[in-house]
């Protein structure tokens, strides 16, 4: 399958990259390429120009600074989970990064790229020929979302592994353009709209990921459930952060909605409570009601809901176990 034709540039600075992006709304960033290039072979993404940002210096780093851990957007997933600082202080992120795809994807893929990945759907992630069996779906410029067989809204799922780990640590991202810089919470980065999943203004590039260490102290983990234990996207992925002493948890799911979600219903319920079997059971029930899974993949929404509860239960039990030590 050949890639479509495109112009190719290798800017040497964020400003340069950002200018190109803001001038041409059909320009796209190339980081690792594991998402974009596959989608281009499928002709669901057709950038006019590809902006390879890997030549821009100072976007590949991991450091501790001012009470937060800062990771450059171009840090490979492998470098993230291989970093002793991350391993020690951000176990959820370590687990999430090492669960993405396969070893090759972890070498090629970047943290920024994984966060900003395109939403997924069984009607979207297919070749152009495959999709010619029906009118273009809403996400590709047509009218109908075939997942729900309705017009107006795209229900494609966000399926990245990194985002939920960042969400439970209240992480933020630095967005830079040729006109300025801003910081946004990871949560606010996601629009919840399947067609344009990210809130990025003209020319904005995600350059740093910032995790406040205070928010991360405690127990954290990421659990991924998929058909196989490599290569696959999650059927459901869940990140949990917990502090037993403060009686607080943060829970995030991926692959259950159009964006990665914080399970606030569960979090509110568990706040201040001691985790008995009964409380656990109720929390599991609440988890299953979070998000809005639809049949964007081969796996049914009801099964995803079940998994959400199961993963939460496993994670909470593990959190309790760890705290006892």
């Amino acid at each position: 399958m050949r890639l479509p034709k495109f112009d190719y540039v290798e800017p040497r600075s964020i400003k340069e990259a950002s200018s190109i992006l803001s001038d041409d709304p059909k320009a796209k960033i190339l980081a690792g390429g594991t998402d974009l290039l596959v989608n281009m072979k499928h002709r669901v993404e057709l950038p006019s120009v590809i902006v390879n940002i890997k030549r821009i210096p100072e976007l590949d780093f991991i450091e501790e600074k001012n009470g937060s851990i800062r990771i450059g957007a171009l840090a490979s997933l492998k470098s993230v989970y291989g970093n002793p600082l991350i391993e020690e202080k951000l176990p959820a992120l370590t687990l999430a990064a090492s669960s993405v795809g396969s070893y090759h994807h972890q070498i090629m893929g970047t943290i920024g790229g994984n966060i900003c990945q395109q939403n997924r759907c069984k009607f979207f992630n297919q070749s152009k020929w495959w999709r010619s069996s029906r009118e273009p779906c809403l996400k590709t410029g047509g009218e109908t979302c075939y997942v729900v067989n309705k017009k107006g809204t795209c229900y494609s799922s966000y399926s990245g592994d990194i985002a939920p780990a960042l969400l439970v640590m209240n992480a933020t991202v630095r967005l830079e353009s040729n006109t300025g810089v801003r910081e946004a919470s990871v949560e606010d980065l996601f629009s919840g709209d399947g067609k344009t999943p990210l809130h990025l203004e003209g020319g904005e590039i995600l350059t740093h990921v910032i995790i406040p260490e205070k928010a991360a102290t405690g127990f954290s983990m990421y659990m991924k459930f998929a058909n196989r234990e490599s290569i696959d996207f999650p059927i459901v992925g869940m990140a949990l952060w917990a502090s037993m002493e403060r009686k607080e948890v943060r829970v995030s799911f991926t692959a259950v909605d159009r964006r990665p979600i914080r399970a606030r219903g569960v979090e509110n319920f568990l706040r201040g409570k001691y985790l008995s079997e009964e409380i656990l059971g109720e929390a599991v029930g609440l988890a299953s009601k979070e998000g809005a899974p639809v049949k964007t993949s081969l796996y049914s929404p009801s099964y995803k809901r079940k998994l959400m509860g199961l993963l939460l239960k496993s994670a909470l039990k593990e959190a309790m176990r760890r705290q006892r030590r």
């Binding site: 190719y8 190339l30 390429g33 596959v38 396969s102 070893y103 090759h104």
Partner: protein
């Protein structure tokens, strides 16, 4: 858009004229006649197209040729020296880790990259890192045995 680029492959500098939309896999096979790197799925999900870029395992079917400029690329053709097989190649041959052979170049290169970084991986760690190289023939058992036998060799050499 066509670009004249230089690619450093197996220690040699190749000058090629490429389009920006050509992948490294296409350039290796279609332009340079290096057929050892295989096209299994062309979408980065099987590992048959694995090459090493600066010693790391990459999926060449989703790597732009332009993006590989200035890097050290190793394909399966670059593994053996002279007439001798690389220890991994020899182990694969002797332990029956090759059946149809289509996954073998990618498999061997990935294994080589793993051992270069981690001289004596545990079986668990090895399996996790090789999981992106699919094989339909062998059931993986002899592949894992072959790689671990090479890792063990370095142990006895110390």
């Amino acid at each position: 858009m066509k670009h004249g680029i230089e690619l450093k492959i197996n220690g040699d500098a190749y000058e090629v004229l490429v389009s920006s939309n050509q992948t490294l896999l296409e350039v290796l096979r279609d332009k340079l006649g290096l057929m050892g790197t295989k096209r299994g799925c062309d979408l980065g999900a099987c590992g048959a197209c694995t090459v090493l870029i600066d010693g790391e395992a990459y999926l060449s079917c989703i790597t732009l040729a332009m993006d590989a400029v200035g890097k050290d690329i190793t394909t399966i053709e670059g593994l053996s020296q002279g007439g001798d097989l690389h220890p991994l190649q020899r182990a694969f041959v002797e332990k029956g880790a090759i059946q149809c052979g289509f996954c073998s170049p990618g498999m061997i290169l990935t294994a080589g990259a793993i051992l270069d970084e981690e001289e004596r991986p545990t079986e668990e760690s090895l399996k996790k890192k090789m999981a992106g190289n699919l094989c339909r023939c062998t059931g993986y058992k002899k592949i894992v045995e072959a790689v671990l036998s090479v890792a063990k060799q370095t142990e006895t050499e110390d």
